[in-house]
C-alpha cells in the first residue's frame, strides 16, 4: 500500500510518499497559498515516483495549513505526526524536543512512536528560534553565526525571559563591556533551561531526539544536554519528520480499515 503525508508549514511544505519500508520526499516553499503549495508538492511527488492519484491509498495532512487542503483523507496535528516520523527515523527514542521558529515543544512517545504526553511553550517567543533571531539581530549577527561565536564561552546570566526586555538587557551588557560570546552563551543557556523545564514536567526521556531549526545550534544543544543530563540525538532528515509521520499514520489507517 502506498500512502502520502503532507506537512503544510508556514514556511515550507513537505511531502513524503511511503511504500513498505522505503520512502521519498521533497521540500518546497509554501508561499502565500498552502492550498496550492500542497497540491503542487503532491503532484510533483507523484511525478517523481511515476504514480497516479489513484495509486495512493490514503493521504494524511498536517501542519498549520492542513485545514486548507481539500484532497487529504485525514488531518492530524503536527505533534502526533512529528513524533511518529522522528520515531521512525531513530527507533529507540522516547522523547522528541522540537524548537522551531515560532514555538517549541516536547513530546513523550511510547515504543510505537505514539504520543503519550506533550508540552508546548505558551504565546511568548522566549524559548523559540524567534528569540535567538532577535538577539542575533541586536548583536548585528545572523542566527547561524551564534553557535560558532560562543563556543566554549563562559555564559553570562541574563535576568529576563521576555524577548523584548532581553534585547535591551543585551544592549546594556554590551555597553558594560561584557564579551559578545559570553552573552550569546548566556542566551543559549536560557533557551535550553526553558525547554528543559518543559521536558522535565513530562519526566525527562532516556533517548531524546532534538529537531527543528534550533537543533542545528550546537550551543543550545550542548546546554540542553547538560540541563537534562543526556546526549541529544540530531537527525539530518528531521525537517521531514512531520510529513513522514503523516504518511506512516496513513499506512496505519489503511491497515486498520482492512481489518
Amino acid at each position: 500500500m502506498i500512502t502520502v503525508g503532507l506537512d503544510l508549514g508556514s514556511v515550507t511544505t513537505k511531502a513524503v510518499l511511503v511504500e513498505g519500508n522505503s520512502w521519498i520526499s521533497l521540500i518546497r516553499p509554501t508561499g502565500y497559498s498552502p492550498r496550492q503549495a500542497g497540491r503542487e508538492a503532491f503532484e510533483e511527488l507523484l511525478g517523481n515516483a511515476g504514480l497516479k492519484r489513484g495509486d495512493i491509498g490514503f493521504i494524511v495532512g498536517t501542519g498549520y495549513g492542513r485545514i486548507s487542503v481539500p484532497f487529504i483523507d485525514q488531518a492530524v496535528t503536527e505533534i502526533t505526526c512529528h513524533a511518529k516520523g522522528a520515531h521512525f527515523l531513530v527507533k529507540e527514542i522516547d522523547m522528541v524536543i522540537d524548537i522551531g521558529g515560532q514555538d517549541s515543544k516536547v513530546i513523550a512517545v511510547d515504543r510505537f512512536g505514539n504520543v503519550t504526553d506533550f508540552a508546548m511553550n505558551d504565546r511568548c517567543a522566549a524559548g523559540t528560534g524567534k528569540f535567538l533571531e532577535v538577539i542575533a539581530a541586536a548583536l548585528g549577527l545572523d542566527v547561524s553565526e551564534l553557535a560558532m561565536l560562543s563556543k566554549n564561552a563562559d555564559p553570562i546570566q541574563t535576568s529576563n525571559m521576555c524577548t523584548v526586555f532581553v534585547e535591551s538587557e543585551v544592549i546594556s551588557l554590551l555597553a558594560e563591556g561584557v564579551k559578545r560570546e559570553r552573552i550569546i552563551a548566556g542566551i543559549h543557556q536560557s533557551v535550553a533551561a526553558r525547554v528543559a523545564a518543559m521536558a522535565e514536567r513530562l519526566g525527562k526521556g532516556e533517548h531524546i531526539v532534538f529537531t527543528g531549526g534550533v537543533a542545528k545550534n550546537e550551543g543550545v544543544r550542548e546546554f540542553l544536554g547538560k540541563e537534562l543530563g543526556r546526549d541529544l540525538l540530531v537527525v539530518p532528515e528531521s525537517q521531514i519528520a512531520g510529513a513522514l509521520g503523516a504518511a506512516l499514520l496513513a499506512q496505519e489507517e489503511v491497515k486498520l480499515k482492512s481489518l
Binding site: T77, I79, D103, N114, V115, T116, D117, F118, M120, R201
Partner: protein
C-alpha cells in the same frame, strides 16, 4: 439532536433582563453576587433576587485595563470592566453587591468596585479545615445577614431562611441531575449546551421557573439518551474540564474541545458541578446560619489552602463519568489554579493514568489557533488510548 429548550437557554440572559426590570419596578430588590461563596439563601430570605455578576466576556476588558494592571485574570478584569463602563444590565439593576476576599486580585479589585455600588465584602477564611475557620465564617455570615437587612430594608426571619435553604437545595439538586445526564455514554448533551444551561441559572428572576426550565431540558436529554441520538458518535473521547470558571463569552476551551472531536461530559468548575453536590443541611433542630456556614465552606476552590476537597471531587467525577482525559483550564494570572494544576496533573496521571492537558489562556481569540493545535493533539492521544 439538540434539545429544543436550548433556544431559550441561549438567550436566557437577555430574556431575563426584562423580568428583572419588572421585578424592580415592583420594589423587589436585586443583589449581585460574584462568586460561589456568596450565600444566596440569605438574599432569597430577604425577599430579594440574587443574580450572578461574574464577568465572562472579553469586551469590557480593555476598559478595565485603564485602571487595573493588565497582568490580571480576565475574569476579574471583565467583571470590573462591566461595572465601570455600565454595560452590564445586571450590575446596573443590582441594589447591593456581595463580594468575598477570595484571591488577591479579586479582593483588591473589590476595593475599587465598591466606589460604584453599595457592597459588603465578606472575609473568607483561607482554609476550610478546623473549628476556628468555621467560627470565623459563621460570624461573617451573621454580619452579612445584618448588612443585607440594613441595606435592603428587610428582615431575614429564621423561617424565611429555612424556606430559602429548601429552595436553593432544590435548585442544586435539579441542576446536578441535569449535569449527571452526561454520565451516559455517549453523552446526550454537548458540554457547550450543558455549560450554557447551568450558567443561565445565574440570571433567574424566579427560581421556580428556572427549575422548571431545567426539568424540561432534563426530559429532552432523557429522550435523546433513550433513542440514541447523542450529538457524539460512540467512542468519542470523554473529557472532564476542571479549573477556573467558564460561561458564555469565555467558553472557548469547551467549544474547541468539542470542535476537535471530544465530548465535554463533566464540568468540574464553578458554574459546573463543583458546588452542586454540596447541599445545606435541612434540619429544623439546627441553626440555619450554621448549616449555611458548613455548606459554603466545603466549596473546593483553589483559594483555600489546602484544597483537598477538589481532589476528592475529581476522584469521584473521573470514575462516575467514565472520563478518558482531563483538561485543566487556568485563566492567565490566576496563581491559585495555576499552581494547583501541577498537583492535578500528578493526580490525574499517577492515580488514573489518564491523559492530562493544562491550558493557560484569557478571554481573547488571539490564541485560538495555538489552542486548537494543542487540544487536537490531546484528543488524538486520548482517542488512541481509549481504543486500546
Amino acid at each position: 439532536m439538540r434539545p429544543g429548550s436550548m433556544k431559550i437557554f441561549k438567550n436566557f440572559r437577555d430574556l431575563s433582563i426584562m423580568d428583572l426590570e419588572n421585578a424592580k419596578k415592583n420594589k423587589t430588590k436585586i443583589v449581585g453576587l460574584y462568586c460561589a461563596f456568596a450565600p444566596q439563601e440569605l438574599v432569597l430570605a430577604a425577599g430579594a433576587i440574587p443574580v450572578g455578576l461574574c464577568g465572562t466576556k472579553n469586551e469590557p476588558i480593555a476598559a478595565a485595563e485603564k485602571v487595573l494592571p493588565r497582568n490580571l485574570c480576565p475574569l476579574i478584569k471583565s467583571s470590573f470592566g462591566f461595572a465601570i463602563t455600565d454595560t452590564c444590565p445586571f450590575f446596573r439593576l443590582a441594589d447591593f453587591v456581595i463580594a468575598e476576599t477570595t484571591c488577591d486580585g479579586k479582593k483588591k479589585m473589590f476595593e475599587f468596585l465598591r466606589r460604584y455600588k453599595p457592597m459588603h465584602i465578606m472575609q473568607l477564611p483561607q482554609s476550610s479545615d478546623g473549628t476556628r475557620t468555621f467560627d470565623w465564617w459563621l460570624a461573617e455570615l451573621s454580619v452579612l445577614k445584618i448588612k443585607l437587612e440594613e441595606n435592603l430594608g428587610a428582615e431575614i426571619s429564621e423561617d424565611s431562611l429555612r424556606q430559602a435553604i429548601k429552595l436553593a437545595n432544590r435548585e442544586r439538586r435539579t441542576m446536578k441531575r441535569l449535569h449527571e445526564i452526561n454520565k451516559i455514554d455517549p453523552a446526550p448533551l454537548s458540554g457547550l449546551d450543558l455549560m450554557t444551561a447551568l450558567w443561565s441559572n445565574n440570571f433567574n428572576e424566579d427560581k421556580e421557573e428556572g427549575i422548571e426550565l431545567v426539568n424540561g431540558l432534563i426530559g429532552e436529554a432523557d429522550e435523546i439518551a433513550g433513542n440514541g441520538t447523542s450529538p457524539f458518535p460512540k467512542g468519542t473521547p470523554r473529557i472532564l474540564l476542571t479549573g477556573c470558571p467558564v460561561g458564555l463569552g469565555s467558553e472557548k476551551v469547551v467549544m474547541l474541545i468539542e470542535k476537535c472531536g471530544g465530548s465535554v461530559v463533566c464540568l468540574e468548575n464553578c458554574g459546573g458541578i463543583k458546588t452542586l453536590g454540596y447541599l445545606v443541611e435541612e434540619n429544623d433542630q439546627k441553626d440555619p446560619l450554621e448549616a449555611l456556614a458548613e455548606r459554603y465552606l466545603k466549596i473546593p476552590c483553589s483559594c483555600m489552602s489546602p484544597n483537598s476537597g477538589r481532589f476528592e471531587l475529581l476522584d469521584r467525577l473521573i470514575t462516575e463519568y467514565k472520563v478518558d482525559g482531563v483538561v485543566d483550564l487556568t485563566w492567565q494570572a490566576c496563581h491559585t489554579y495555576n499552581i494547583e494544576a501541577e498537583m492535578v496533573r500528578d493526580f490525574v496521571k499517577k492515580d488514573f493514568g489518564l491523559p492530562f492537558l493544562h491550558l493557560e489562556t484569557d478571554y481573547s481569540s488571539s490564541d485560538l489557533q495555538q489552542l486548537q493545535t494543542r487540544i487536537s493533539a490531546f484528543i488524538e492521544v486520548t482517542g488512541r488510548k481509549k481504543q486500546q
